[in-house]
Amino acid sequence: MTEPRPTPILEARGLVKRYGHVTALDGADFQLLAGEILAVIGDNGAGKSTLIKALAGAIIPDAGEILLDGKPVRFHSPLDARRQGIETVYQDLAVAPAMSIAENLFLGREPKRTGLLGWLGALDKKKMLAEAMRHMQSLKIGIRSMKQAVETLSGGQRQGVAVARSAAFARHVVIMDEPTAALGVKEGNMVLELIRRVRDRGLPVILISHNMPHVFEIADRIHIARLGKRAAVVNPKHISMSDTVAVMTGAKRPEELPAQALA
């Protein structure tokens, strides 16, 4: 029984990106489905980060097309992608440490007050604090005061702020670039739990990670990038970690995998 495939939320077809003589993307395809966590893995130089940058608007591909909800889109900057509802969480804890949690959540999107003070440009700090509290609570991040400077938080909590920020503003997709790389084991697990909560709220997540146990624990599907292309998309429930790594490194061809391993 074959059902018609649902339209992917985010799709890329035949992306090409060259840097001088180096071809980073060589006709890469990509599909993100509704409500899933899609892990993107690949060796260094496989074109994984170039692919993600193209999807996040950080680079402009030389050829190929990107479709959001089935409609072609062109991103000229990360801001373009954000305006279309694609938010990115960066690995190096992209927060302003001396500023409060609320300020970090709303950085660049601060609500203004009404009336004369608003006309003068005054920010609605009450609203920022209340909304920040609501966003953090909806992801079950227990922090008492949204006025607290981010630098007083642990690494995991800081990443929690970054995740909450993207989840609060993303309408379509959240991209997480190595969100656990800078964290210890326990905090890494907390952030994985957060990623699940983001997905459970209906936002599909693209997770870039080198951490195979994390990928296998959380991903619904795994996109394997190799030599600037998509080598395969596999189902973590039906493939072993070693087979996945074998495809990633080229030790095994995707055709050699059992049919059910492919997703």
Binding site: P78, L79, R82, T88, Y90, D92, A94, V95, A96, P97, A98, M99, E103, L107, G108, R109, E110, K112, L117, L120, G121, A122, L123, K125, L139, K140, I141, G142, I143, R144, S145, K147, Q148, A149, E151, T152, L153, S154, G156, Q157, G160, K186, N189, M190, L192, E193, L194
Partner: protein, 331 residues
């Protein structure tokens, strides 16, 4: 079952305390100012008087305004070594045009402001477009502005200013104490800067930029444009300082502004703003400028030669930077 973020104690006790206490950075300068005042009161009976305080305010008014521009720049994790000379060139342009070229004095003031602002824009453009370090750029424009000032004025003092240029040096009386309009302008500028930095999006973005420029850029804020605006605005502020300088001294002095580079940085740092950017408070800068002013004034009253005052300012700035550095290391 994975651990939940909510089950982890939110933060250390220290973190929670820090969230609720007023920033220590603003208490330190206040205490230092008080101690300096107490010290000079004990050393000379001429220190503690309304007229002397009014004098200190007048002496502080020029460097106080320069330090507003310097604070904006330092909050972005930059530095402006050219500030004193950008003020100097503005003051010479407005006095030369008004006196020697007999230009309408208001137009002359406008031209002076424009020249200082243009130099600020040049600083910002070189830093953001050519991507040169602020330190080198402003060291360069310092010398350029100084040289142009000397060439244009032939190193001659301009005197015989029209009244319009001296307005901010005039005084009104509050009880027994004479207060200059320039002091009032300085205080208004501090209040405006305080509001903008504390309560508006552009102000908060200045802090964010100084905190983590890359993160700020990734959040969709045009950081290059912001830096350009900050340096240009700083230039404009130095132009206002030029007007106050001219009004206070009653002449266009091509040798003026040479101590204001270090003095403004001293005021900013003494006021608790971090040289690493992103932390600090503009009202702290006012306190810092007052500390410098109180030291200069008190030492003068004690009969200490001005070379020693420069020595002490140098020591003060190093002490303040050391405190900043140590508190960052602990944090």
């Amino acid at each position: 079952m994975l651990p939940d973020l909510a089950t982890v104690p939110p933060t250390s006790i220290r973190g929670r305390l820090l969230a609720h206490l007023p920033p220590v950075a603003t208490l330190g300068p206040l205490l230092a100012l008080f101690l300096a005042g107490a010290f000079f009161t004990s050393q000379t009976d001429r220190f503690l008087s309304g007229s002397n305080f009014s004098l200190i305010l007048q002496q502080v008014m020029v460097v106080g305004v320069v330090a507003i521009g310097q604070t904006l720049v330092i909050l972005t994790a930059g530095i402006d070594l050219s500030c004193g000379m950008l003020m100097s060139i503005g003051s010479i342009v407005m006095t030369k045009l008004a006196v020697d070229s007999e230009m309408n004095p208001y137009l002359a003031i406008l031209c002076g402001l424009l020249v200082s602002t243009a130099f600020g824009f040049l600083n910002g453009a070189l830093i953001t477009r050519v991507k040169l370090p602020a330190f080198i750029v402003t060291l360069g424009t310092l010398n350029i502005a100084f040289a142009i000032t000397q060439i244009y004025s032939k190193s001659q003092t301009v005197s015989g200013l029209p009244e319009a240029l001296e307005f901010f040096g005039r005084t009104f009386r509050v009880g027994q104490t004479a207060v200059t309009y320039g002091t009032v302008l300085m205080l208004i500028m501090y209040l405006v800067a305080w509001f903008v930095l504390r309560d508006t999006a552009p102000g908060r973005h200045v802090y964010a930029l100084g905190n983590n420029a890359e993160a700020t850029r990734l959040m969709g804020i045009d950081t290059a444009r912001m830096l350009l605006v900050v340096y240009t605005l700083a230039g404009f502020v130095y132009g206002i300082a030029a007007l106050l300088l001219v009004a206070r001294t009653g002449v266009g002095d091509p040798q003026a502004g040479q101590t204001d580079n270090l003095d403004s940085i001293t005021a900013v740092v003494l006021g608790g703003t971090s040289l690493f950017g992103g932390r600090g408070n503009i009202l702290g800068t006012l306190l810092g400028a007052l500390i410098v002013g109180v030291f200069r004034n008190g030492l003068t009253l004690m009969g200490v030669a001005s070379v020693y005052q420069i020595l002490i300012t140098g020591i003060l700035v190093i002490l303040a930077v050391t405190t900043d550095q140590l508190s960052r290391r602990k944090g």
